[in-house]
C-alpha cells in the first residue's frame, strides 16, 4: 500500500494557496504599475508598521476559526488593554516593563474570561464575544470618556516605532515573523495542531477520540486574548496615545484576512502559508492603494469583492471536477 498519492496538476492548481499566490502576484503587478514608489523596500518596511498589529492577531484567530469558533471581541480587548496601560502610565507613572506586563495581563485575563464562559457555561462563541466587544470597549469608554491619554514613557515608543539595531527593519515586524513561524510549526507539526483540525472538523468524534475539546478551545481564547494584549501594547506604543475608540472595526478585517487565507469559516481546514500570503496580499494592497491616494473605504470595496471571488473559485472548480468524474463513471 502506497503511503502517499501523487496529485494531478489539476489538484495542485485548485489548492487555495496557489490561487492566493496568483492573486498576490496580480496585486503586486497592478500596484507597481500604478505607482513607482511601490516596489521600494524602505517604503514597504515602513508600511508594515500600520499592519503588523492586525497581523499578530490574525495568527491566533486562525486557530480559533479552525476550531469552528469565532472571537469578535478582539478590538474591545485592545481598547481595554490600552486603557489600563494609559491609566497605569498617567496615574501611577508606570515604566515600560510594567506597562507591557499590564497590557499583556489584561488581554490574557479577558481571554480567559471569554474562554471560561464559552466552554464552562456553553454559550455560543459569537454571542459571548459580541457581548464582550461591547463590554470591554464600553469599560474603556466609562474610564476614559472623551479623553485621550498621551503620557507615555519615552522608552515605550520603541516597541511600536523602533527598528532593529541600525537597520530599517521594524521591531514589530521581527516579532510578527517569529510568531508566524511558531504558529506555523504548532499548527502543522505538533499534536496541538492536529487536534485543532480534528475539533474543527468534528468536535464530537474528537471528544470520543480522547481529545479534551473544551480545554483546547479555552486555551485558544486565552491565547487570542494574550496576543490582543500584545497588539495593544504595540499599537499604543506606535500612536503614542490611548483613546477608547482605537482599533475600531478591526475584528472584521482580521476575520476577512483569515478567511481569505483559506481557512474555512466553519472550521476544519486552513494553512499558515495561506494566511501569511493573505496578510501579505492585503497589506500590500492597502499600501499600494494608499500610495495612489485611494481612500480606505474604497479599498474595502476591493477587499469585499476579493473575499467573494476567493470563496467562489475553489468551489466552482471542485464542482467542475465532480461533474467530470460522474461523466467518466457513466462511460
Amino acid at each position: 500500500m502506497k503511503s502517499t498519492k501523487k496529485m494531478p496538476i489539476w489538484h495542485i492548481l485548485m489548492q487555495w494557496e496557489v490561487i492566493l499566490f496568483f492573486m498576490l502576484v496580480v496585486v503586486i503587478v497592478v500596484n507597481s504599475s500604478l505607482s513607482p514608489y511601490f516596489l521600494d523596500l524602505n517604503n514597504i518596511l515602513r508600511t508594515t508598521f500600520n499592519f503588523t498589529e492586525k497581523a499578530i492577531i490574525v495568527l491566533p484567530m486562525m486557530f480559533i476559526i479552525i476550531c469552528a469558533d469565532i472571537d469578535i471581541s478582539v478590538a474591545g480587548i485592545i481598547a481595554l488593554s490600552s486603557c489600563f496601560m494609559g491609566l497605569a502610565s498617567q496615574h501611577l507613572g508606570a515604566g515600560t516593563p510594567a506597562l507591557i506586563f499590564i497590557g499583556l495581563l489584561t488581554g490574557l485575563s479577558v481571554g480567559i474570561l471569554n474562554g471560561l464562559i464559552i466552554t464552562k457555561i456553553g454559550i455560543p462563541a459569537i454571542a459571548v464575544t459580541l457581548a464582550g466587544l461591547f463590554l470591554f470597549r464600553g469599560i474603556a469608554y466609562v474610564i476614559l470618556g472623551d479623553m485621550a491619554v498621551t503620557t507615555y514613557p519615552e522608552s515605550f515608543a520603541y516597541l511600536g516605532q523602533g527598528c532593529i539595531g541600525n537597520t530599517r527593519i521594524p521591531f514589530q515586524l521581527v516579532l510578527f515573523i517569529i510568531l508566524a513561524i511558531i504558529f506555523g510549526i504548532v499548527l502543522h507539526k505538533t499534536t496541538y495542531g492536529r487536534k485543532l483540525f480534528a475539533i474543527g472538523n468534528n468536535s464530537t468524534a474528537a471528544r470520543f477520540s480522547g481529545i479534551n475539546v473544551d480545554r483546547i478551545r479555552f486555551f485558544n481564547f486565552a491565547l487570542i486574548g494574550l496576543l490582543s494584549g500584545l497588539a495593544s501594547v504595540l499599537l499604543t506604543s506606535r500612536i503614542g496615545s490611548t483613546r477608547p475608540n482605537i482599533a475600531s472595526g478591526w475584528e472584521l478585517e482580521i476575520i476577512t484576512i483569515v478567511v481569505l487565507g483559506g481557512v474555512y469559516i466553519f472550521g476544519g481546514t486552513g494553512s499558515i502559508l495561506g494566511v501569511v500570503i493573505s496578510i501579505l496580499m492585503v497589506g500590500l494592497m492597502r499600501f499600494g492603494m494608499g500610495l495612489i491616494n485611494v481612500p480606505g473605504l474604497v479599498m474595502n470595496i476591493a477587499m469585499g469583492f476579493l473575499l467573494i471571488i476567493a470563496i467562489l473559485l475553489p468551489g466552482s472548480l471542485r464542482e467542475l471536477q465532480s461533474k467530470i468524474l460522474t461523466k467518466q463513471q457513466q462511460q
Binding site: S3, K5, T191, K195, A198, N202, R207, F208, S209, G210
Partner: protein, 497 residues
Amino acid sequence: MEQCLVEVRGIKKYFPGIKALDGVDFKIRAGEVHALIGENGAGKSTLVKLLTGVYQPTDGKILLRGKEVGFASPHTSQRAGIAAIHQEVTVFPELTVIENVFMGHHIKKPMGLIDWGQMREKTGALLEKLEVDIDPDARVKNLSVAERHLVEIIKALSFDVDVVIMDEPTSALSLEEVKDLYQIIRQLKKEGKAVIFISHKLDEVYEIADYFTVLRDGKYIGEGLVKEAGVDKIVAMMVGRSLSQIFPKVDVEQGPTIFRVKNLSKTGLFKDITFELHEGEILGFFGLVGSGRSEVMQVIFGIDQLSEGEIFINGEKVLIRNPTEALDKGLSYIPEDRQQQGAILKMNIRENVTLPIVNELSHARKFLNKKGELKVTQEYGSRLDIKASSWEQLVETLSGGNQQKVVLAKWLATKPKILILDEPTKGIDVPTKAAVHKFMGELAKQRLGMIMISSELPEILGMSDNIVVMHEGCIAARFTREEASAEKIIKAATGHI
C-alpha cells in the same frame, strides 16, 4: 392482472465513486403491502429517495399508473400521491408537532394566511386515530426517540396519498407500538393504498407483507409472494451466502473478571446497572433504541459523568472522568454513529487511526511523528484489510464498511484490554460484517473482553457468550448463551418480563 400503481424499470443512480443502484426493476399494486428487502447498503434507501423526488435517476424509468413520470422534487412526488417515512428521523426540533406534520404543506385560509386551527384539529385527529398520546403543541425536541418516530409516521399520513413508503419504521418502537403500526398498515391496505415496507428484519416481513423484492449491492435479485417463499431462499438472495458464514462464533475459554460495574446510575437516563465482564468474553447488550445502552457505555468511557455507582477494573475501583483516563486504563469505546462520533470524515485514514494515540506516537509528546503514524496505520489497516488506495485517502471517500474498519483500527491501535463496540456492524455490507465478527473472535482469543451493543437479534444470539437486556434505562433480564432465545430477549426488551 391489476394495473401497477408504481413501476420502476432499469433504474440506475450513480454518485461520484459509488453505484448506488445499478439496474433495478420494481412494481407495486394498489392495496398491496410490498416488502423491499436487502442488507444495509443494498440500495433500498436510494430507491426510496428516487421515488420521493429527493434524487433524480441517472438512468431508467419511473412509471405512475403506466405513464412515465419524473419527480423533480419532493413536492412533485407528494402531489403525485407518494409519501415516505424516511429512515433518518428528520424533524424540526424547535417546532411543534403540528408544524412538523404540516411543514411544506401548511393549510391556508381562503385569504392566504395559515389556518392554525384546522391544522391543530387535523393533527389531533391523526394522533387519535393512531391512539398516540402526544400533545400537538409540544416541541418535538422535547419528545422521546420513539415519539419522534410516531410524528414522522403521522406526517406521512397527513398527505393525500396512494403510496406510503416506510423505511425501517420499527427500529425505535416497542412491541405495542409495532403492533399498532401493523394495524395502521392493514388499515391503509383496506383503503386501497399501497405500502412499501423496507426492512432487513425477516420476521416483520413475514408478519405484514404480501409481496417482496430483494436488492443486493444496488442490483435487483428477485421477487415473489411472501407466503410461497422460504426463509432460507430469501436470506440466500439477500446475503449471497449462508447464515453460518456470517457468524463464525468460536468458543473461547473465559478468564477472570476484568471489568465490573455496580449500581451505575445517571439521573434521567439509566438506573442500577450492574454487570461483569471476563477475559475472552463477548457480552451482548440488547435493547430497543432509547433503552439506555449507549448512554451507559458513554458514562463508562468518561464522555458523560455518572450520578451514582462504581466501576472496577481488574478488581480495583476506578474513577473515569474523561476518555483519556479510560484509554489509560485500557478501556476503549467504538461509538455507534461512525460518521458523527467515530471518524473524522475530512481527515485521512492515517490521521484518523492515530488520533487517540497521537500524543504517545509523537516526539516529546508534541511534534507529530508521521513515520510512526504510518507504521501503526499500516499494521492495523492491513490486519483489518482496509481497502483504500493509500493511507492518505480521506475517510469520507471510503465505503461504509471500510469506514467502520478505520474506526475499528483506530481503537485497536490503543491496545485495549476492554473493548466496547456499539452497533459494530450497523449499516455495513455483509462481507464486511462477517469480517468484523471474525475479527471479534480473534480478539476474544487474544484475551480481550468485549461488550457488544446490538439491535440485531441474529448478531446478539450468534456472537454473545452472555446477554444483558435493557429496557427503559434498567436491566430487564440476563441470559447465558444457552438460555437465550429470540422470544425471551424480545419479551424482556419490550418490558414484558
